[in-house]
């Protein structure tokens, strides 16, 4: 569904086979754990068995003495970070906290917190040596949810944390150690008056669980600290340049002494931006003089990486009789995990972002708790917020007997709407996605049968721009080697090659993309923020235009004329006298016409416009067990321009499935001692193919004016609506309005039993 007459593209909008397809389906693709280097050692880590404890004794001498052990490291082997903040691409990071997360200093702050590492001749020796490390703890009481951690009597995790953004009257204090790391506050209009004028007001409290990205490939790093002081890291990462910088900063060596080589990546979803292993493997390599490989197992991944925060949210919304929202108020407390840095900021900015609300207030808190330090996860913070806002809005629609699609259309944000946090939207497609769902065969179909219900919900994500680099070398056979720094998670090698090919008017198959290491390409920010197809795409378009310009000059030499007489049209050059050379013909002549042609392009100034999605789901609830089956699922999303529609659909489907996981069963389950008891894929229940129907994707195209082809990022939005849409469908099916995630069978059953009483 397109909102504008689309230019007639040759490559964009087609579905070529991905360049990395053969390697992936034949198992030849090389992942980080596949690396084997001569003389390589294997490493294992000691992790905390406690949620909160002081380390009172740590003695590694017995581990060091075990035959076959080549090096043992603890935080003492690393340079002191002092008190400094470092800008790491997607925001600034407190280096002391980052270092203490990589290897604990004097305190462990969560179950699974890394403490020490051993490198040995075999993985079995390394694991045995870990058991020989002598350690004693003074166990401290844990605190694991935001509201408890905000109370004055709560144990405090970090003595150096003070409340940023604190104002008098709020919790915490500006000069006392606290778990409240920051406070966020936005306000527009007059909410008092808004609520006073409202005909309907609904206020609800919500709790959402800590959930993990669940990437299939565990974190890994293989590092060689060479005798010349140069460090090479082979790893799975969403961003080689941020991995390089974090590693260099943690080791306090110059960034240029570190080279990060990206291996194929088995999923990241935001969780493979922060580094855990490279500095540790690097130090083990330095001490042993050998390359060292460190790979997490699944338990370590779940215990100590990711996750995205559990949260407490309170939302109050008031509308007039017609359903127009006139006031909205939200309070959000997100669990940062062990160190500050939950996505409370985006959570606060997203909660009312889909609607045009004249009077609104949002207050948010970032709160440290004894859980792993949270990290980005697909539209960080937005899914929690959407669950709250979108279910409250549905309750209001019900009270006013309004169709859920209509109340959303009535209030939809559009070009010029000001968000409560300040910015005004440029051209966006919020209403268009609701219309796409309202008009879909799914929404129009009847849903017969008992205990069945339908729900819809909308979600938003900003999408970022940031910086990328691309270089392209023209070969004599008329094909192009395209080098990029964006690690390819969702098919971006192809979607970037397609934009490059479109610009030059050549087939996509003639472009050979490679993701290369940090010494081989210009600075490129992470594959995250739904930015790669947008921003690295712009860099590729710029590189293609650079090549165009050079080819015009070469053609001018060939025709013995001046460049202004030559035009690049339709995959070739045309002289004002009518002569023409195709791209291939000109490429074959390059060596006679002045030598190699290399194009380059960067991006960085462009800001994305933001994207919306609306989902519709049918469920059936087993009234005796509370188990939910998803019967049908349709997701509509504004993707600006779909470069490769299959990958757009893939992102929409993948995001929806992850959101379904949040909705139904995924949660970190901690026991009263604060220990994570479900650090396996058996008990951390992500949906399987038996739990999810085919997700129908409706691609809505409202081009983003800030991209040459109108691209909007698609990766993150689709995780936002599912929990709310499913909660709304459950309410429609059996009449209970769930306010807690996950909406697992025991929780739904408890509500159903309450309802019967």
């Amino acid at each position: 569904m397109s909102t504008v007459e689309k230019p007639s593209y040759k490559v964009i909008g087609t579905r070529p086979i991905r360049h990395d397809g053969v390697d992936k389906v034949t198992g030849r693709a090389k992942y980080g754990a596949d690396i084997r280097l001569t003389g390589m050692l294997w490493a294992a880590m000691l992790r905390s068995p406690h949620a909160h404890a002081k380390i009172t004794r740590l003695d590694t001498s017995k581990a060091k003495a075990l035959p076959g052990v080549r090096a043992v490291v603890t935080s003492k082997d690393f340079p002191d970070q002092g008190d400094r903040l470092v800008e790491l691409g997607e925001g600034s990071v407190n280096m002391k906290h980052l270092a203490a997360n990589v290897l604990a200093h004097d305190k462990v702050l969560y179950h699974g917190h890394a403490i020490a590492a051993v490198a040995a001749d075999s993985i079995h020796i390394a694991q045995q040596a870990v058991e020989l490390i002598e350690i004693e703890y003074e166990v401290l009481p844990p605190v694991q949810d935001a509201l408890s951690a905000m109370k004055p009597e709560s144990p405090v995790l970090n003595t150096d944390v003070r409340t940023k953004g604190y104002v008098a009257g709020g919790p915490g204090s500006a000069d006392q150690p606290t778990n409240v790391a920051s406070r966020i506050y936005f306000e527009q209009g007059d909410i008092k008056k808004g609520f006073a004028d409202a005909a309907v007001v609904v206020e609800r409290e919500f709790h959402t669980a800590t959930v993990h990205q669940g990437y299939i490939e565990p974190h890994n790093a293989t590092v060689l600290w060479n005798a010349d002081g140069k460090v090479t890291v082979w790893m799975s990462t969403q961003g080689t340049f941020t991995a390089r910088q974090q590693t260099a900063e943690l080791l306090r060596i110059p960034v240029s002494d570190v080279k990060v080589v990206p291996m194929e990546i088995g999923g990241g979803f935001g969780g493979k931006i922060s580094v855990y292993l490279p500095p540790v493997a690097a130090m083990l390599s330095k001490l042993s003089g050998r390359p060292v490989q460190l790979v997490m197992d699944r338990a370590a991944v779940l215990l100590a990486t990711g996750p995205t925060p559990g949260s407490y949210i309170r939302v109050k919304v008031g509308t007039d009789k017609s359903g127009r929202i006139i006031a909205a108020d939200a309070y959000l407390a997100y669990e940062a995990g062990a160190y500050p840095g939950s996505p409370i900021g985006p959570g606060c900015m997203c909660i009312f972002s889909c609607y045009d609300i004249p009077n609104a207030r949002v207050e948010g808190y970032d709160v440290c708790v004894n859980k792993p330090r949270t990290n980005a996860y697909r539209a960080p913070g937005s899914t929690n917020a959407a669950f709250a806002m979108e279910t409250v809005l549905d309750e209001i629609a019900k009270q006013l007997k309004l169709d859920p699609a209509e109340i959303r259309l009535l209030n939809a944000a559009k070009e010029g709407t000001r968000r409560v946090d300040g910015p005004k939207y440029s051209r966006i497609g919020m209403a268009e996605t609701v219309e796409a769902i309202r008009d879909s065969a799914h929404y129009q179909s009847p849903l017969p049968g008992p205990n069945r219900g339908r729900g819809i919900a909308t979600g938003f994500w900003f999408n970022v721009g940031l910086k990328s680099s691309v270089t392209a070398t023209l070969n004599l056979d008329g094909k192009v080697s395209l080098l990029e720094g964006s690690t390819d998670i969702g098919g971006t090698r192809t979607s970037i090659a397609m934009q490059f090919a479109e610009t030059l008017g050549i087939p996509c198959e003639d472009v050979h993309p490679s993701v290369v290491d940090t010494d081989s390409i210009g600075y490129t920010d992470v594959t995250g923020g739904s930015r790669t197809t947008f921003s690295t795409g712009i860099a590729a378009v710029n590189a293609a235009n650079d090549i165009k310009q050079q080819l015009i000059e070469r053609a001018a030499i060939h025709w013995q004329t001046t460049p202004d007489k030559v035009q690049y049209i339709d995959g070739g050059v045309t002289c004002s006298d009518g002569q023409r050379l195709t791209f291939k013909e000109l490429a074959a002549e390059l060596h006679e016409l002045g030598g190699p042609v290399i194009g380059q392009g960067t991006s960085g100034k462009e800001a994305q416009g933001g994207a919306f999605g609306t989902h519709c789901v049918d469920v059936e609830v087993d009234p005796e067990t509370g188990k939910v089956q998803i019967l049908r699922y349709t997701a509509a999303q504004d993707c600006g321009t779909a470069i490769h529609p299959s990958y757009v659909e893939g992102q929409i489907q993948g995001g929806a499935v992850q959101g379904i996981g949040w909705a139904l069963n995924e949660e970190f389950w901690y026991d009263p001692k604060g220990l994570l008891r479900n650090a396996t894929f058996l008990d951390y229940r992500m949906p399987t193919c038996y739990d999810v129907p085919m997700i129908d994707a409706i691609i809505v195209e409202v081009p983003d004016p800030s991209h040459p082809y109108g691209v909007r990022g698609v990766g993150e939005v689709p995780i936002c609506p599912p929990p709310a849409a499913i909660a709304n469908a459950i309410a429609n099916a059996v009449g209970v309005q769930m306010t807690t995630l996950p909406m697992s069978p025991p929780k739904i059953m408890a509500e159903l039993l309450k309802q019967k009483k």
Partner: protein
């Protein structure tokens, strides 16, 4: 993980000798789908794994007028594909078809499932409901134990160090008998039972009255539980939902579940009732010769 040796004896005698080592040092290996994981994560650290899959007695699968003899190492896929098992010991097929996926079923044995003695093991309630007996051999000789007495706690059973479960023996079912196992799991696959129930029911010739019944509950106590009183309440009663409802409180009474990441105590007790009724409905339908539809995991 500790390195270990591997031996594959071809006779029961050899196996018993190899296993006669001090406790923990030698460990029988059937499919290895539990054992290898336990060795890998350090829960067990044997010096030698004794593969029991090449021993004839442990590979037996024979059904006849005297009942069923099931070697402890026979894998689930083989059991589920066996015609006589399908016809007469259907609960066992239900169990064998939900333990893991195709790969796991092609390795995992019912013997291993019992010996691993997990409270939520999916075959044990079926073995109990079908009146199975465990034949155990060791250096001290051979003995038999009723299936309901085999497990003694989570991961614990009556096997003494060096003893081997050789086979499971089941009586031939009376005419008009049907059996069923079902579990509740939050997802539809790849999950561990929140509650599992195995039942076996015999009807009279009119197919209306229950004349015999056995009920076994899984995942609601430290071991699978034979719910005798609940089964007793069915006998002599018409095979109707009202009758099944009478058994519900009696089954709930013997359940002693805990709160954990797989479910709450209250929820599990609630589910015992729901699953009991559903499994009795299916078993009775089978006793009548019908082929009831059922969704695993519900």
């Amino acid at each position: 993980m500790r390195d270990f040796d591997y031996v594959a004896p071809t006779s029961l005698q050899q196996a018993v000798e190899l296993l006669a080592k001090p406790a923990g040092q030698a460990r029988p290996l059937a499919g290895g789908t539990d054992l290898i994981d336990h060795v890998r994560n350090g829960r067990l650290s044997p010096d030698v794994l004794v593969d029991i899959k090449k021993i004839p007695e442990l590979n037996l699968l024979e059904a006849g007028p005297n009942g069923l003899r099931l070697g402890a190492a026979v894998n689930c896929a083989t059991i589920a594909a066996h015609q006589a098992v399908q016809a007469q010991y259907t609960a066992l097929v239900d169990s064998c078809q939900i333990i893991g996926g195709v790969q796991i079923q092609s390795r995992a044995s019912v013997g291993g499932n019992m010996c691993n003695s997990g409270p939520a093991a999916d075959s044990t309630p079926s073995v109990i409901a079908l009146g199975g007996r465990c034949v155990i051999t060791g250096a001290q000789g051979t003995r038999e134990v009723a299936a309901e007495d085999f497990c003694t706690g989570p991961g614990k059973n009556v096997l003494k160090p060096g003893e081997l479960l050789v086979e499971l023996r089941f009586p031939a079912p009376a005419p008009h008998t049907g059996s069923h196992y079902r579990r509740f799991i939050p997802r539809n696959e790849m999950d561990i039972a929140v509650v599992g129930i195995g039942v076996s029911v015999t009807l009279d010739d009119t197919l209306k009255i229950i004349t015999a019944a056995r009920i076994a509950l899984g995942a609601v106590g430290p071991t699978p539980i034979l719910a005798t009183a609940a089964a007793q309440a069915l006998i002599g009663q018409p095979a109707t939902d009202e009758t099944y409802q009478k058994a519900v409180p009696l089954a709930r009474e013997v359940a002693t579940p805990i709160n954990d990441m797989r479910g709450t105590k209250d929820y599990r007790i609630h589910l015992v009732g729901v699953l009991l009724v559903r499994s009795l409905q299916a078993a009775v339908a089978r006793a009548k010769g019908e082929c009831p539809n059922y969704k695993p995991g519900h």
